[in-house]
């Protein structure tokens, strides 16, 4: 028994010094991942062109058809933009998982784990770099949105709050998909495994069409799942109060975001420690 106790004490003593490296090591990984985005044209296209296409396509292709089912007084572009934001960042968070799966597959995670670096840094750095990427993606989408007629009906403070909620939700989704990336062997599998979750989150939501148009058995999920709650909060903050929009969606969205990070981050770090 005493042998076990000493070894545990040694593990604790041994683990302590690494904490002071968390920030520095994470920044080094952020730097590395941002360089990767810059050097990989495909990633850049995925991060920028696709969201723009989504905004324009939904605005002009589907806008007319869906306008009819919206509450009176709301324009589809104002209804749509929060949905497209959240859809884009949720799909984008897949790259967190795909990137980790690729690092794992190429042996890079083994290299990192053999270095005396902070255990959480690879994940903090990866999700941090994805947060930076998302910042630019959301800014770009805002600009494109404004060009095609998106308007903020509230005020600057609430617009900033909406922006921050989108980014925070993106961050929480990165942690969720990090678990997937660390649980599979390669990038293709990470994508294949993630897609059902993505579809369930993004399409069975209020992103593109009002939940009221869905069958009743689906509405319970579609109303309360995190993507819908976050979208509703962003709509409330950009459209203002109106039918189907309420202030309570904001604290609910924050609760979802905090909850997802609180659950997923420790699981992801534990998976990283054991990853092979």
């Amino acid at each position: 028994m005493s042998a076990v106790d000493t070894s545990h004490a040694a593990t604790r003593r041994d683990a302590r010094p690494e904490r002071r490296f968390v920030v520095g090591d994470s920044l080094a990984i952020v730097w590395r991942n941002l360089l990767n985005i810059r050097r990989n044209p495909e990633l850049l296209v995925f991060a920028t062109v696709q969201p723009v296409i989504f905004v324009v396509m939904f605005r002009y292709v589907f806008g007319g058809a869906i306008q009819g089912s919206l509450p009176a007084g709301q324009t589809y572009i104002d209804y749509l933009m929060p949905g497209v934001f959240v859809q884009t960042i949720v799909f984008g968070s897949l790259t967190t998982g795909v990137g980790l799966a690729e690092d794992l597959n190429k042996g890079l995670i083994d290299r990192f784990r053999s270095l005396p670096m902070a255990r959480s840094a690879v994940l903090v750095g990866r999700t941090g770099a994805d947060l930076v990427r998302n910042f630019f993606v959301v800014v770009l989408m805002c600009v494109v949105g404004f060009i095609v007629g998106w308007t903020i009906n509230t005020d600057a403070a609430r617009f900033v709050a909406a922006f921050l909620i989108i980014l925070a939700f993106a961050y929480s989704m990165s942690w969720a998909f990090a678990i997937v990336g660390l649980s599979v062997r390669d990038a293709e599998t990470a994508q294949a495994v993630s897609f059902p979750f993505l579809a369930l989150l993004v399409f069975a939501s209020s992103a593109f069409v009002p939940v009221a148009t869905m069958p009743s058995w689906l509405q319970g999920w579609a109303k309360n799942q995190p993507v819908s709650v976050v979208i509703n909060a962003v709509r409330y903050l950009t459209i203002g109060s109106g039918p189907g929009l309420s202030a309570s969606s904001v604290p609910k969205a924050i609760a979802w975001i905090v909850g997802i990070v609180a659950v997923c981050a420790p699981i992801a770090v534990a998976r990283y420690r054991k990853a092979t």
Binding site: T11, D14, A28, L35, E42, L108, R111, S114, D186
Partner: protein
């Protein structure tokens, strides 16, 4: 970077009864060995023998289910972070970021090893120069050849000047020239006092580089010793004598039976002689043949190779070992998958 003091007399690497299971499969079944400071141990075995799993346990990447291991006196389970300070690992895959340049890769590892920021650039330059990568230093690693990637990978393992180096099949997949280059680099490191544990499935590689060889198969150590020891103990030295006609071969077979065991194959005789005195036996053979006025068409002294050793130990040749399953048998599918996926999948 970090100086660790070893108890005098304590070997640099100690593995003591290491066991690792994956599900029901015991990939490593009680492996023990020691590597003295400044020496090279070759861990030799076919695919799936458990070599990689042993290295993963020694480098803190996998936790042993039973047994202990120490590197420079530090326990790999109890003090993993301190162990990571003093080891370098170059794995089966060149673990480099393909979208970073050679220099950026080394800088990244330097930062993550917590070198002083002002030293990182200089250290990267030294390594790039030493591994003949200086000209390619500012190119992204995606454009590197296989040999260059392996050299960069090894350079990355050396950024923090670790006194103990683990090389998991460092030359797998390299062409003979790349292999030779890497061997020279490893020899230089050892001359500089680095302790090296090297896994390989190439007998020639273990023979060239290792002071001591541990042969493992199916997760267990099946032989241990220097290359010369193993050859002397397990391999046979043979003299092969070819004759132009059967009569001469028959006469010679009778004559040579006093020197060693004769195995006749038509006009060719295989004479098994003691491994420690091949040259003496050769001389005896020549004299005996000359006295009887028998003129051989060919006369060859064949020293035992590690291939012979491996064959006599395991009943199968090293190269066609069963790669399916136990332990690090995952190596192959993972590598092929990576090749298939090529670039970044979308």
């Amino acid at each position: 970077m970090v100086s660790e003091t070893v108890t005098p007399g304590e070997p640099a690497i100690v593995a003591d009864g290491l066991v690792k299971c994956f599900g029901d499969v015991e990939a490593v079944r009680g492996v023990s060995f020691e590597v003295p400071e400044g020496r090279v141990l070759g861990l030799l075995g076919p695919n799936g023998a458990g070599k990689t799993t042993v290295v993963r346990m020694l480098t803190t990447l996998a936790r042993p289910d039973r047994g202990t291991a120490r590197v420079l006196g530090l326990d790999v389970v109890a003090q993993p972070q301190r162990v990571r300070n003093i080891i370098g690992l170059a794995g089966q895959y060149a673990a480099i970021d393909e979208n970073l340049t050679g220099r950026e890769n080394l800088r990244l590892v330097g930062k993550l090893s917590h070198l002083a920021p002002r030293d990182i650039g200089a250290r990267a330059d030294v390594l790039l120069e030493r591994f003949a990568l200086a000209d390619a230093a500012n190119r992204v690693a995606r454009t590197y050849s296989g040999g260059m990637r392996r050299r960069l990978d090894l350079a990355a393992a050396l950024v923090h000047e670790p006194p103990v180096l683990f090389l998991d099949e460092p030359t797998t997949g390299l062409d003979p020239q790349g292999r030779n280059e890497l061997w020279h680099v490893i020899e230089d490191l050892v001359d500089g006092g680095t302790t090296v544990l090297l896994t390989t499935q190439y007998l020639e590689e273990a023979d060239t580089l290792a002071d001591n060889i541990v042969v493992i198969d199916h997760g267990s150590v099946i032989a241990e010793g220097s290359a010369a020891d193993l050859k002397a103990r397990l391999g046979a030295t043979t003299i092969e004598i070819g004759f132009r006609d059967d009569t001469a071969a028959t006469t010679a077979a009778g004559l040579l039976a006093s020197i060693g065991g004769v195995d006749r194959d038509g006009k060719l005789l295989h004479l098994s002689v003691p491994g420690d005195d091949g040259a003496g036996s050769m001389l005896q053979t020549v004299r005996a043949l000359d006295d009887a006025r028998l003129e051989p068409a060919s006369l060859v002294l064949r020293e035992p190779t590690l291939d012979d050793v491996f064959l006599s130990l395991t009943g199968h040749a090293a190269a066609d070992g069963d790669g399916n399953g136990d332990g690090d048998g995952t190596a192959k599918p993972r590598r092929s998958r990576r090749q298939r996926s090529g670039g970044r999948a979308r």
